[in-house]
Symmetry: C2
Subunit: 479 residues, 2 copies
């Protein structure tokens, strides 16, 4: 094998895209999908789809007509109306990790997630200027009852941040609670419908199964006009064939059917094509993240999203590594490159993801620094009279040292990437400072970020209305 200089940033040619798309439609028409929700089955039958028990065989033309109803971009507005974020305008929007049952930081170790952890992680995300959309369930509040903890987590975002957020969801009922809370903050359901504040993810049970919880959640998103990221979770070799092309056809089939259902409930519902598609470590059966399969799947998935005219949710700072060591960092960096090169619109799990997503890591500072680095790269470089600095070069001449020159002193604080984590220092200095590895350095940094958190405040009436809703529904859910 010879390492190649030319990386296929668009690994699919036009014919490849055609074949994958054609197979997706064939899967939908001939194999079909399971749909485990009676109401949706009725709707689908009413729309002329072939329904046989819970198996739906989809008409290609109808599916594509439904797809055409989904907008190419949409805007989220936080409870502070100045917190507006457009998804699908060519920029990349990052979010914190979602879903980990465990939390970890260097001081307190690995532990079951708690509501206190959730609040801290919400505050950390809010204190960062790199995460304009927050995530409910950024760690699982395991100290709360499973039936009602979604309320506490959604509430903690609305209380401690004023940004748009992804609801906890996982079922139509729980998603509705998130939307109702958002409606209180938005000034009612109509206002929320007009200016979405939240979004949700639905994952089919790949391959080709839509379970009831997800279908009701999809329907709830459509009813409330909140965007939904239809995100197959595909593992090549497990929930999909081992060859990526096959998985891409499953990805397309599942996204198209999900989008079609959302449009059926309410035409115009904003939908993202989501992709969480990677390979499997055949030694353990676990997902291998940040490795070539996941990079290629991200790049190829993005080409499908562009073909379908949908904003893309994908990528993130993903890794399989368990401790925050060289493996985790290399995988995370690979994932973030894939995210940026693919042209992803929304990256969930961009910061704080560790151990294959089982752990929300407080050492998310590494992820944030990497994200900051990519932002710096995206600025490119200036070439003008000032930056060419001919006069300084002529003045100092051959052998000149620019460290103390005015041209340097005027710019180095603002024009050079400087990071608390990424340092270039002499070995003796490093030893004198305790020979610390990066996780130890990052530990200090999240404390500093948390100290910088400023409570956005909340209107007393809204505060009370949110509490009242959460208390009432918590009692109902736990009953």
């Amino acid at each position: 094998m010879r390492p190649g200089g030319a990386l296929p940033l668009e690994p699919l040619g036009p014919d490849d895209l055609d074949r994958i798309h054609a197979q997706a439609l064939r899967l939908l028409a001939e194999v079909g999908t399971e749909v485990h929700d009676d109401e949706m089955l009725e709707r689908l039958a009413g729309a002329g789809q072939r329904v046989d028990g819970t198996r739906v065989r989809w008409d290609a033309d109808w599916v594509l007509a439904q797809l055409a109803l989904a907008p190419a971009s949409f805007t989220l507005t936080g409870r502070n109306p100045e917190r507006r974020v457009t998804i699908g305008d060519g920029s990349l929007v990052m979010m914190p990790v979602g879903g980990p049952p465990f939390a970890h930081d260097e001081e307190r170790g690995r532990r079951d997630g708690s509501l206190a952890d959730h609040v801290e992680l919400v505050k950390l995300a809010h204190a960062s200027d790199l995460l304009p959309v927050l995530q409910s369930g950024t760690v699982e509040a395991q100290d709360r009852e499973a039936s009602s903890r979604h309320l506490a987590m959604d509430h903690s975002i609305l209380r401690w941040s004023d940004r748009p957020f992804m609801v906890y969801g996982t079922s139509g009922e729980k998603a509705r609670d998130g939307f109702e809370l958002a409606a209180l903050a938005a000034g009612g359901r109509d206002a929320l419908l007009e200016r979405p504040m939240t979004l949700a993810v639905v994952n089919p049970n790949s391959p080709l199964v839509w379970d009831g919880l997800m279908v009701t959640q999809l329907a709830a998103c459509a009813e409330y006009g909140q965007p939904v990221a239809v995100t197959p979770f595909l593992l090549a070799g497990a929930s999909a064939p081992v060859t990526l092309a096959a998985g891409l056809s499953v990805l397309a089939a599942e996204v198209l059917s999900g989008v079609a259902m959302a449009q059926l409930v309410r035409p115009g519902t904003p939908c993202l094509m989501g992709t969480f598609f990677t390979g499997v470590d055949m030694r353990s059966g676990g997902p291998s993240l940040g490795l070539p399969e996941s990079v290629l799947a991200t790049l190829a998935g993005a080409q499908l999203a562009r073909r379908y005219g949908l904003p893309l949710r994908g990528g993130g700072g993903l890794c399989s590594g368990i401790p925050l060591d060289a493996q985790a960092a290399a995988e995370t960096t690979m994932s973030l490159w894939a995210t940026h090169l693919a042209g992803v619109d929304l990256a969930v799990h961009a910061a704080g993801w560790l151990e294959g997503g089982l752990v929300a890591s407080y050492e998310l500072m590494l992820d944030l620094e990497l994200i900051r680095m990519f932002g710096w790269l995206a600025r490119g470089l200036d070439v003008d009279e000032e930056s060419l600095a001919f006069d300084a070069l002529a003045e100092l001449g051959p052998g000149g040292l620019f460290l103390a020159h005015e041209h340097t002193l005027e710019r180095f604080r603002t024009d050079v990437f400087m990071s608390p984590l990424f340092r270039s220092q002499a070995h003796p200095t490093w030893e004198k400072q305790g020979a610390r590895h990066l996780p130890a350095v990052a530990a200090g940094e999240w404390r500093r970020l948390l100290d910088s958190y400023e409570d956005p405040g909340i209107d007393a009436g809204l505060d009370e209305a949110l509490r009242e809703y959460v208390d009432r529904r918590t009692r109902e859910c736990e009953a």
Copy 2:
């Protein structure tokens, strides 16, 4: 700041390139360079350049005419003629680290480099199929006298590997020793001239100073017809202005003047445009590697190389990190992405670089695994009937699991990236296996690679001739 989806893979527009090129020629003509070698000064005066003491002011047309004499690509041939590597054909050729005074591995710790370390690292590089060109001085053999150790290091490559290599060099005299040894292996100086076996790096003392040692080495390369990578070592804010555009003009001026001198000694001498250009950590004055400045400088430097029609030496697996932790791994991964995206032809320091280049790391297995990953990415993905696997999808249908399906079992050993270092495993398994961080895992892996080393063997007559030359010259150098 908003992270951008669109990364500028070619950060310079056509006008930017023009302005940088124009300033390079203006620097050469108006400011000039120092050249600290009487013989070269005479040659340059003879060729019509304005020489004033040691200051040379260069004629733009002459410099560009000299540049046109350098070939766009060249081939290196090892002492085993089957070890042929073309540089400049669009593929990326990787080399081990060069220059570190210290060696490090987990078991033996950080220590002064020795000849024994050098031999082990040569064997490791030879045992890998990812490093087709070797590096003399991959760690400094500090247990040998400084005046003669270059002979022992060059010799150790010719003895333990049969691949082309970069000579130790650092002066005309030392480079000549490397070339004479290679000539013995090639069957004489004429054969070596016809089929180069080695190459060398020359670094001007940036900005704009050509010291005597480097000029004599440049001349030696030209005389022996061995390719030379003219490689300014530029630090934005120290040896160059803090703005990258200015440094790029210095880079161009230094490369153009170096190439012109090489062509003056022997027209047609293969030259690479080399670039080692990054920012400075203003807290310590050390080079910051793998950060945005170094990525942008690599991408922009590649555009200059293409404009000048020279193969590009640049990038590598560079990092500032001291231990092999998350910092080092993230920086290395950033550097390798820049290397691949820039279209670098030859990456020196691709494997084994740690601590800003002060340490040759035996845990180079991480670098090799990353390089293997990029090779995997470069293959792209197949979309055909077999990989689309419609039959397997239809057979298993919705909810099917592909882990044990024939389609998976037939392919997962060969078609899926699997790595001893990058694992996806459960936390309890990881704990049971000692909760090891990546450096500890890599430590086992370099032992395994070393065990797989096969001595390529050496002709008895050549073996004796090399020893005789090394012994004689060692005595002369140490006298």
